[in-house]
Amino acid sequence: MSCKFNPADVQGNILRGYRKPRVRYLMLEISDRAAARRWLTAATSGTGGVPQIATESGQRWATKPDTCFNIGLTFEGLRALGTPAASLATFPTEFVQGMNKRAIKLGDAGPSAPENWEQPFNEPARVHLIASIYADDVAQLDRVQHDAVGGQQAFKLLRVRDGWCFDGDYVHFNYQDNISQPRFAEIHDRDSFSDSQPMAPLGTALLGYPTNFEGLKWRIPEPEPLGYNGSFNAFRVLEQDVVGFEEYLTAAATELLEHPKVNELLPPGAEANIQVKEGQRLPRHDALREVIAAAMCGRWRNGVPLALSPDTPNPSPDVSRTKFDYTNFDDDGAARCPYGAHIRRCNPRGGQIVQRVANHSRRLVRRGMPYGPAYVHDPAKPRDPNEPKRGLLGNFIGANLGAQFEAMSCDWLNLGLQDPRITGSNDPLLGANEPETSWFDLPLKSGAPIRLRGLPRFVTTKGGAYTFLPSMAAIRYLGSLTG
């Protein structure tokens, strides 16, 4: 089969985001194989009342659709559809085993362990299909959900989960998110933001194309119509302890105030450079909280990267949010962005790493939206035991789960193998941290860093599944299966 890129064959949520304010996930179990196949066929053309699956166009939307509907299938889902055994045997091991079985690699232990996951992910054999609906409002979500799964025999609806964007792409922990994504030469938005990282080959996200490793291609599931133009997704329900995070910043800032080298981290008077609201001068303790929050992420909470603006979230002139690398140092050689900061650990860009061949190779397309109400930190208010659940519904998309999502999770996010200065520590925001052993270094220009300890686990996995994001040809193939 030709590798010529045909955008209309690719589901629309892979290569670019819809930038819709609301999302709903439907977790489905196939209860009638024949009906499910008919449903899939109908979804490719939007006939019989089933919502049409949104595809890539490669072009800018002429008019943006009100809603976008997409699907992913687990290995159990492919089996439930009656995919032939010879074909199932061509799928990669991690997908066959499923996210639950790969828990240790992903740091999903203790409170994040699969035995503690929420329904339906505690019964992975029943999670067959995860459909996503992107829309502007709840009424649209309800309508598409009704069209998709109302009054039909094919599926049992196991659970519905909603996410929504806060103003200005902020997420829980109050950081701006959704800033940097792999750019593809084939997609129009490549020029809408500048980035010092090389353009991502299509094989970063799609099966059948050159990958980030020269001369190396991932196995394409067979037969050809099933595999080509497909992708894999790690869907994650990540609960965030927003109160715990703010409490930690407060405690760490209090500790830093007493630290003999605190003036090196934040020179006296430099708090004036750290404005959260325009014109508002933060007390020193609050400014230190922001310094710590920025170091942990690698970006100030407004998204300004430390690599370009280590001293202030409000640089003048303004700096790019995306065009930076970790190859530049200050004159004295100090790192502007901590080696262990979240964005640097998960994507070290062109910076020096231990695994010399791995730069740019573990990149992921990330599509996530928060759930639960936005949290406004009020230090005067005690922790509410009935604090609503908050977190992120995340999709981590790539052509090879093992080489991208898992590789990033097990050696970089946790463990920190990419840099000897952070090896043995976990990601300060997302890592599987235990207060007794966790640490995070704040670099100082004079050399030895200030080491923060006692970081708890701020993010707990509550569920998830590895799904295959089939091409339109693949969905037609699956719909046409017999027996």
Partner: protein
């Protein structure tokens, strides 16, 4: 009843053993001795074990280090590849020796670029070419990076191994190659004796059963070694546990 001595003590107030205990001890000694005799060893090894194995099929356990979230367990991990040569003669062994010798410089340079390898050696044991290495981090990442750096060179070695033709060139069969290598990485018997029971439960889809009847351990170990013929005993000794190759290099100032 009397053999444990408590009854005797209670009855007579002395710890003297009766003739029944004496006979029991003698019987124990006789059974222990019996196990060392050639006929009995033959019966046990050639008849009893195959019969057990037939009655209680045991699944082959996966190779490699045990999965762990502890950072210290995820550095200095041992890989013990035992790969049976196609040609089981001195000629076959010589071909394997030459394949390593011809590519040694490239393989070593490649391992250097992988960045996470402490040590690696190639050894011929009987009709197997073995690669023993100590690496940091995830196994799949190690092998994938290995393929990217020196896959084409290593293919010359894999070609000499049974079944190797199905997974080369490795750059075109990355996923299959990783699974194949994993399949040749031998089982590492845990440092904790009862962990083998956990591994067996896991392999049988019975995780969490937690049957720790130690009397079953020797039988279970025998049956496991009947399926996993080559094993690593424990995860091995480390002189400086918990440090990655890059940390050691950085400490010595030799660049990482």
């Amino acid at each position: 009843m009397a053999r444990n001595g408590t009854k005797t003590k209670a009855e007579g107030g002395t710890s003297q053993k009766g003739w029944f205990d004496w006979l029991g001890d003698k019987l124990d000694q006789w059974v222990d001795w019996l196990a060392t005799t050639k006929p009995f060893a033959f019966i046990a090894g050639r008849i009893l074990v195959p019969y057990w194995a037939w009655r209680t099929p045991v699944k082959r356990l996966e190779g490699g280090p045990r999965p762990s979230v502890q950072p210290g367990d995820n550095v200095q991990r041992m890989m013990n590849l035992v790969m049976p040569l196609k040609d089981k003669s001195a000629v076959g062994r010589a071909l394997a020796a030459l394949a390593i010798a011809q590519n040694k410089d490239e393989i070593y340079a490649g391992l250097d670029n992988v960045g996470t390898v402490h040590f690696a050696r190639f050894v011929i044991v009987d009709d197997n070419i073995c690669m023993f290495s100590v690496y940091d981090g995830d196994f799949s990442n190690y092998i994938r990076d290995f393929i990217v750096t020196i896959g084409s060179v290593f293919d010359a070695v894999v070609e000499l191994v049974e079944g190797g033709e199905d997974v080369i060139p490795s750059a075109k069969h990355v996923e299959k190659f990783i699974d194949w290598v994993h399949d040749h990485d031998i089982y590492q018997v845990s440092d904790v004796a009862t962990d083998i029971l956990r591994d067996q439960e896991e392999a049988n889809g019975d995780a969490g059963a937690g049957n720790d009847d130690l009397r079953l351990l020797p039988r279970k170990l025998i049956l496991q070694l009947n399926v996993n013929r080559n094993v690593s005993l424990g995860s091995g000794y480390r002189a400086y546990p918990g440090y990655s190759a890059a940390q050691v290099r950085q400490q010595f100032g030799v660049g990482w």
